[in-house]
Every structure is written in C-alpha cells, then in structure tokens.
Symmetry: C2
Subunit: 439 residues, 2 copies
C-alpha cells in the first residue's frame, strides 16, 4: 500500500528526534556507507538511468526537452564516483549540531545553555539532475534533519534507485523514514499543506515554480524566486576592472541566478566608457537593451542597440542580454538597486573607497560586492563547505546558505526546584546573569 | 491627506538604509532624547491617557471590558518615568548591528566578510498597553529597523500622543518614517499585503489573533499562537521539587504563555504522589481534569476531579485549570509532548540524570527545562537584555527573542577586478579559503 504524504511527513517527524541526537561519528559512518553502496551498485544505477536517458532522447527528438537538460540527466560511472567523493567531503565537514552558542548562570544552581539543533523535517523540491538526491540527502543527514525529496519527472527512474540505495543503508542503521522520496505533482500539492510536520521547504527551480511554492504554503521557504543582479560602474572606475568584470558576470553562466542582468553607469563614466564597453559587450555576443540616455550617447555606434522598457529593470533574462541605464550618482544607483534588485547580489566598480563604502552599506542585498564579478556569489566559492541553496529572505539565512542554514537552536535550563514566584514581589531573589564560558 | 498603508510602508523601507547605518552613539542619543521628551510632556500624555481610561471605565461598567485590561491601560507619572528608565536601559544594551560574524580570504586580494545588519522594516501589532509603543520603538531603533506599530483601540489616544512625541524626536534627527503608527483594523488587513516593503511581522495578542495574522500574510511572522506547556514528573522525582514547581508553573501567572497546561505523571510516580499532589493543587485553587488512570487512582479522594477529554491535551486554559495524564515511561512523555506541545516550554522533574538528558535532547521545543518552573521562560529572566517576543518558529529565532532576533546579516566581498571564469576550466586559479580573525 502506498503511504499518503501525511503519513510520510509524520514518519519523518517521528524519526527526527533520533536523527537530532546521532553522534557526528555515526552520521559520518552513514554517509560513507552510502558512498560505498552507490559504488557497489553502479550498474544498477546506470541501468535505471538508461531508462530516463532513453525517454529523454525521444523528448529531445520531439523538441519537448532541451539538449542541456538531457546531458544533465546522465549518470555515468565517473559521476557516481564523484558522488562517493562528495559524500566523503560532507563527512569531513564540521558538524553544525550541538554547538554551545550561549551559556549563562541565571542564579546559583540555575544554568541556561543554548545549543544548535536540527530544524526537524525539510522538504526539498528540485529539477532534473538526479545527483541532487544524494547531495541533499547528505546535507540533511549531516545536519540531523529528516528530508522529503521530490525530483524531476525526467529523472524518475534514476531518483528512485538512488533513493532505494540510501533507504537500504538507513534501514541498516534503523533510521527508515529519515530520507523520503515523493514522485508526483499531486504529492507536492499535498506536501505544501503539511505545516504541522514539515519545518522548511527548499525549492530549486524556475522563478515561477519557486513563486508557486511561496504562494501556496504556510511552511517557511528558503530560496530565491529570481536573481536580478546589478553592476554599477561609478564615476571613478578602472576600465580594466569595469569591462572584464561586467562581461564575466554576464557570459560565465548566463542562466545562473548570480549572472548580471542590469548595468548601471554613472553619467560621467558613461561619456568615457560607453563606446569601448558597447563594442566589447557586442564582441562577447551580449545583446544590449538601453535607456534613452545610453541610446543618445551611443548615436553613430556601429553596434545595434535596442531601447529598454520599464519592464526591463525587473527582468531576469537568464540569457546573453543586458539592460543598461545611466544614473546621475551613486545614490541614484543604490536607489535603483534597492527598488529593482531581487536582493541577491549587486556589485560596484569604483576606485573611490567612499563610494564603495556607501554602496556596500546601503544596498539591501544578501551579497554586496566591490570590484568583483557577481558570479562569485556561491556557497563553495565563499568557503561554506557545501551549499544548501541561495536565499533572498530577510530572516533565518541570507545569501549562499551552508549547513548552518539547516540548524536552529534550543534553550536548556537546569535547576533544582526553583519557582518563578521567588524572584518577584517582596524579598524577591535577584538574578545573577553571569555569562559562562562556551568551552 | 492621510497616507495609505502602502505609502507608509514605502517610506519606512526608504528610510531603512539610513537607519541601518546610524552609529551606536547616534541611536543611543535618540533613545535618551525620547526619554527626556516623554518626561517633559508627561502632562500631555496623562491627558490623552485620561480620555482612554474614561472610555474604558464606561466599558467596564457595561461589562464590555475587564478590570485588569482597564488597569493595564493606565499611564501615570510613575509609569512614564519607568519608560524613560527603560529607554536608558535599551541605550546601554550592546548594539546588535555591524558585528563581524565571518571573515575569509577567498584568494589574494579577495576578502569576504559577513556583518550583522537590521532586517529592514518590522510591523508590530499589539493589544491594550500603551507602553508597548515606546518599548517596541526603542528595540526597533536600537536594532536599526524601521517599524510600523498598531496598538489596541482602547489605548488609541495614548498611543497617538506617544507616537507623536517619538515622531517629533525623529524629525529632529531627520529620521521621519522610522516609526509609524496605524490605527484601524482595515489598516492591519492592508498591512498584511505589503510583503514587498515589510520584512517581519510580530503579532502580540490572543491565539486567534496571531493565527489570523499567520494565515493571512506572506510576510514572515515571529511569535507564538499558543503556549501549551508541560511538566513531566518522572519515576525518580523529588517531591519537594515536583509539587512546588508544578504549582508555581500554574498559579504564578495563569494567563501567561509559559504557564503549565498539562501535567504528565510516570505511572510509578503517580501511585506515590497522587493523593498529596491532588490535595495541594486543590488547596492552590487549581481545577483538575484527569485521564482515566488518574481518576481510578484517585478514587476515594476528597477532591473533586473531572475527566479530561481528547480536546484537553490540545487546550491552553490560561486559567487555574490543569489537565493530568499518567504515562508509562519518559519515552511516552516525550512522545506526548512532541505531539501536543506548542513547542514553547516543557519541563521534566527527575533526580535521574539519564532521564533528564533523554528528555532535554528529544523534546522538540524552544525551551526544555529540568527541575525548574516553566515560568522561567522569558527574555529578561534569560538575561537577553530585552525581550522582543517569544517564538515557537523553527527558523530564524526560537524561544525568548532578544535584539539578536531583529537582525540578519549580509556578505560583503571586496576584490580588484576578479572574474569567476579565472577559477574554472584549464589553468584554473584555486581558492585559498583562509579564515581571517574576527577582530
């Protein structure tokens, strides 16, 4: 009998206190065991993956799937080996659970401690790449969380076999229910109602998909629905930084959420830099949509430039397209960014430390950069060890999120029979509030 | 012309980058100035408060308002002085903004820093006590956040005069829009739609009210809709802790969210402790609603005990009522709590360190206590300096929340023209990832 989504969520919740209290050694042992199990079953994985790949090849022929998506779907022996290495790497990361964050003697014999602990039950919804089943399971287990996974339809056979291999290892450790797989869109809709059992949803996918999740659940959502990143070239710029950084931020991976979408130019900079900038952007294959002032300043240019509309300042192209706007000052640049940015990553190019300081202090985004490509906004690049996702939220976690984003804390208070009433009214006892060392 | 809620929220958002970058000295100066301004205008405050009090006295006569609510409404000179002292205390708290949380050299000339920063724009909705206008404004300003306040209707004259006094001081510092007051229920409904401009809502009030807010907005909500707290008396208990702690947790402040609602008894403990326990609870004026086993064990008792229904395990009485249930083990107690607790505060009474350890590790609540009353769950008691509220969320902030709960962080990266492409492909540069000291 198939379990309902509610039963799956309940079971995940039920196993979560056990997961929360596994030792680091035990968690790492499980991760390494999964890695071995994957390698031992690489043929089985390949076989299942072949079914997905064949179906996808048909879809490519019918133009219902793109070639890059087909390639992302493929799991060969090398990729399976890489997954084993990934599991080993995660096993070596610092355990985020059980860290003492705060300790205070409230009174003699009354000690308060705050310890990091897992969030509880996560739900992670992602698209085609089947490796994500392993990656997300590893991060969830390492942080002591139970997880419910929903992968892309195109990878369903691969996802299922990877899940089954994980589940076999978890059963050996009496942890069935710690990782769960659901498979249909109806299941996702049912999942969104499980706010009693699921503590955090992490959607990975298109903007529309993430927005759909955000709009249809009371469960907190970690993620970003869009990546409208900016580069602002200030009055005092170094051309050898300005142009290469802008081109890198657009062409290195145009469909990434940390690719630049809008270039803002100080009017003084625009007068000097525009001809060369436009030429080099054009040479790099970037289509330009420009504001009226940019169009005026570019009259006579050999490069074809199209006018931008009001919509362009709110658009994530995810393609080799860049909107360009001239602004009168760094203040105007910051105001434009705070109005139109998705609060993901924004960069200033300037040699003026005051302008840099103003920009970094006042731009309200998770990542604010100076003289460096927006593409550096990434958990691995930031040295966080592993990336859970990128968040544009203003609470809990912001910017690239590492394992730390999968934990919360609890307060533990130990006493010897104290009553609250003893600390109020006449002859009230007084709290000591003596901070204790964390080690 | 009255401003629309959207205009108020936009203005608050607009001033927030300025607030975010005020020095600690400036923020403290503003707080102290508000304190002085309150004292200088105590007559004006009293006069406005008199209007509210008179209207409320009429309502008490008509039985449309309770006497305790009337008393909470009153603002006399002593209370106004206390508010000045409160502002002084908040000025002395550590500034939560601008703390370096993480620093890493990604590569030579490429340095990453993570700094704490304000969340942005808060909305705080509360009931009758007018002091809250001052308290919440102080905490918001200290943490560099703009705030939109909505107080209780009964205190509307008092709230308005207090807001106006704050607004006068803010205007002196060119910070108009940092604190805002809205006044009607329709305004609250409009506020809930401002997810583009408002970053966090903190509702304080009845369970129904908090649930209404949670159910009707996409803005993150910090708070708790109910406080169903438990005490579990284990097999190995000390009667001189068990009974006084239980009585304190119920009678010290029965309508508080950290008052106990359900008492769980290990069956071995129940056999020994029940007659005395029931007698003392009864003497303290506590009505008992008991499970079947408790009723059986209490046959012949002089105290009248009523049977509990399934609803009782989910009920916050906020009154001198306690539900009592016998459980076979500490495991069963933890399971009951994880199922029925509002994850606020739960206590074990035991002399067995293993049972205490098991309970504290596995109960999934913000505050888990050993041998101490649930009533200790409070920001001031915990030494957090000031309490913003109590959260039963699993993300961002949990348990009593201090100023720390009103900040998030941003990543700042400074480079000298680095491109992401240089760190991939052939001849890729390698990241150093060298942690830097935080001071």
């Amino acid at each position: 009998m198939t379990k309902t989504i509610e039963q799956i969520a309940q079971k995940a919740k039920h196993v979560s206190p056990t997961l929360a209290n596994l030792s680091s050694a035990k968690k790492n042992q499980i991760l390494l065991r999964i890695g071995d199990h994957l390698k031992q079953n690489s043929k089985k994985i390949s076989k299942a993956n072949q079914l997905d790949v064949k179906a996808a090849e048909e879809m490519v022929k019918n133009n219902t799937l793109s070639l890059p998506l087909l390639n992302r779907l493929k799991l060969n022996d090398e990729k399976i080996n890489q997954l084993s290495v990934y599991l080993e790497e995660v096993s070596k990361l610092e355990d985020p659970v059980g860290k003492k964050q705060f300790a205070m003697e409230l009174d003699t014999g009354l000690e308060l401690t705050r310890l990091s602990c897992p969030i509880g039950v996560l739900a992670v919804i992602f698209e085609s790449r089947p490796e994500v089943v392993i990656q997300v399971s590893a991060l969830s287990l390492k942080s002591g969380n139970a997880v419910i996974l929903k992968g892309g339809r195109e990878a369903s056979h691969s996802n299922r076999v990877l899940f089954e291999l994980i589940d076999q290892v978890l059963a050996e450790f009496e942890l069935s229910g710690a990782v769960n797989l659901i498979e249909t869109r109806e299941d996702v809709a049912a999942l969104l109602d499980q706010d009693e059992h699921i503590d955090l949803i992490i959607p990975r996918g298109s903007n529309e998909f993430v927005r759909y999740i955000q709009d249809n659940t009371k469960i907190p959502v970690l993620g970003h629905s869009s990546g409208i990143c900016h580069i602002y070239i200030d009055k005092t710029y170094d051309i050898d930084k300005a142009i290469p950084v802008t081109i890198d931020a657009k062409i290195d991976y145009p469909s990434a959420c940390n690719a630049v979408e809008t270039l803002l130019l100080h009017e003084d900079a625009a007068k000097l830099i525009l001809p060369q900038l436009i030429g080099e952007l054009n040479d790099a294959g970037i289509k330009i949509l420009a504001c009226e002032n940019t169009l005026k300043l570019s009259q006579g240019s050999q490069v074809k430039i199209e006018p931008a509309t009001a919509e362009d300042w709110k658009t994530e192209y995810s393609d080799l397209v860049l909107s360009v706007k001239i602004v009168p000052s760094v203040e105007a640049a910051v105001n434009h960014i705070n109005q139109f940015s998705s609060h993901h990553t924004d960069t200033i190019i300037t040699e003026d430390p005051n302008a840099a300081d103003y920009f970094m202090k006042r731009v309200d985004s998770g990542c604010v950069f100076h003289n460096v490509s927006t593409r550096f906004s990434d958990g691995y690049v930031f040295g966080l060890g592993a990336e859970v996702g990128i968040s544009t939220n203003k609470t809990h976690s912001r910017g690239p999120v590492g394992l730390e984003g999968l934990v919360i804390y609890k307060y533990l208070l130990s006493g010897n029979g104290q009553k609250r009433a003893s600390y109020s009214g006449e002859n009230a006892k007084v709290f000591k509030h003596k901070k204790l060392p964390l080690n």
